[in-house]
């Protein structure tokens, strides 16, 4: 019994990581329809922000809390830059956006290699996150996993509130639902696009900070997480944050339970099969058909 509970907790914490790395995408991909393959490198930028910051602020606890907003800003600005320079020209060509941003991701990875070196580096975790909470003898919850779970939930709540109750959020949703109508209603859609991209990319930076707590960071860390992140948003559905949230935790739990009975690699493959099967049941793109002009 405790084994199942402890695997469930592992699943929830895997889900929390998935959710953090996918949350920004659910905004840029899910709401705006932009396929940004450099999202993984924005995560990397957030992680390296912690690394650099710890050279200045040696206290790991303080640097973590300063890093959260700072990484948000760094990754967010990178996102805005990308939107202004490239993505804006490619809104009508989503598949080409994918390839162009892949190129950007290659360049950013190499930049990271040239600046920080190719080998992975380790950041220091604050003391209060290195311990465990012991619930029973068999069930031990690690502090940093709990912290990431809290961070992920906080990010979801903050994003939901921002989208639902602020005027910016209303404008974002207006542009998503009907760009032309929003423009006619006096909303500067270009500025809303940039702001949406800032927030979505900024969330990637926050995810990067969280990833520093789980292991070493390196130039290729973005590539390792980007596919998982996209799968979460694809399965979660366009335009619905709650879809991404549910899918992230479901996949995390599935993976952790399968992992326990087989191996990590089999679990990964089964998760992929599960997503394909899921899309058989609930395919995306089916509901966005416009009939009056098929073009």
């Amino acid at each position: 019994m405790t084994v199942i509970v402890s695997q469930l907790f592992t699943g929830v914490s895997i889900g929390a990581v998935l959710l953090l790395i996918a949350l920004g995408l659910s905004l840029t991909f899910g709401q705006m329809g932009v396929i940004n393959m450099a999202h993984g490198e924005f995560i990397m930028a957030g992680a390296y922000t912690v690394y650099v910051l710890q050279k200045v602020i040696t206290d790991a606890g303080w640097s973590l809390f300063v890093a959260l907003p700072l990484a948000f800003a760094v990754a967010g600005l990178m996102g805005v830059l990308l939107e202004v320079l490239l993505i804006r020209r490619l809104y009508a060509r989503p598949l080409d956006t994918l390839l162009v941003t892949w190129g950007v991701s290659l360049i950013l990875q190499q930049l990271a290699r040239d600046i920080f070196g190719a080998p992975n580096v380790q950041t220091r975790a604050p003391d209060f996150l290195t311990g465990n909470i012991k619930i029973t003898d068999d069930l031990v919850l690690s502090n940093n996993r709990l912290f990431i779970l809290t961070l992920a939930l906080a990010a979801v709540v903050a994003l939901t509130v921002a989208l639902r109750y602020t005027s910016l959020g209303r404008r974002i949703r207006a542009v998503v639902q009907n760009r032309d109508l929003a423009a006619v209603s006096g909303i500067a859609t270009g500025r809303v696009d940039r702001l949406t991209f800032f927030i979505g990319s900024g969330l990637a930076g926050v995810a990067g900070v969280a990833l520093t707590l789980l292991g070493p960071i390196g130039p290729t860390m973005g590539t390792n997480v980007i596919v998982d992140a996209f799968l979460v948003v694809v399965a979660g559905g366009i335009g619905h944050l709650k879809g991404s949230v549910i899918v992230a935790f479901a996949l995390g739990t599935l993976q952790s339970l399968v992992e326990y009975s087989t191996t990590v690699s089999v679990a990964k493959v089964l998760v992929f099969v599960a997503i394909v099967a899921f899309l058989q049941w609930r395919p995306q793109g089916l509901f966005t058909l416009r009939t009056r002009s098929l073009a």
Partner: protein, 241 residues
Amino acid sequence: MSGLVVRDLRVVFDGFAAVDGVDLEVAPGDIRFLIGPNGAGKTTLVDAVTGLVKATGSVRFGDDELLGRPVHRIARMGVGRTFQTATVFEELTVLQNLDIAAGAGRGALTLLRRRRSVPVSVEEALETIGLAGLRDKPAGALAHGQKQWLEIGMLLVQDVKLLLLDEPVAGMSHDERDATGALLRVVSADRTVVVIEHDMDFMRSFANTVTVLHAGKVLSEGSVAQVQADPAVQQVYLGVS
């Protein structure tokens, strides 16, 4: 020739009934115009008949029930449609557009070979729609009206028996409109035709019978004169214009 029989058709989007219990009978060979204010459910009705949206009730064409079948099956049963915005394959030539439309029944071997000659039906359709001289032009380079005619031509070679046209003359010049009307006469000779149209002059010249839809329901039905004389219609629709 077969007629179209619609019984108690309902299409519901998120609790909103876009088509709310429509009964409709189009006799074989009829040219039926569907009119009504925006949001009356005209296009949604056509969407339901062609399988694009889910609907309840019954749509029979001849002896076949159409509801519940996938779009391409319905098309193979002889039901064809056009769209408000002309949708042709812009990168393909006029000839290629028609050839594809003519070929839904082709076997794998024919498909994997090159087109050696122009099928007779395609040749005839090129003449009928007046685009014979532009056959090797990419469809994307055609004028708006020509694209609409190409779409009608595609329906001809597709050998449909029921034509559903969604605003075929919207945005056309006067001459183009007349030519389209003449084209309609030609194609309707051995087909059943349903036209959605806002253009009242066009309707008066070419409609055989008219159905007025309002808020997802049939408001009135009959000849052009009957419908125009109907006080209910004048109130919700014609009176406004």
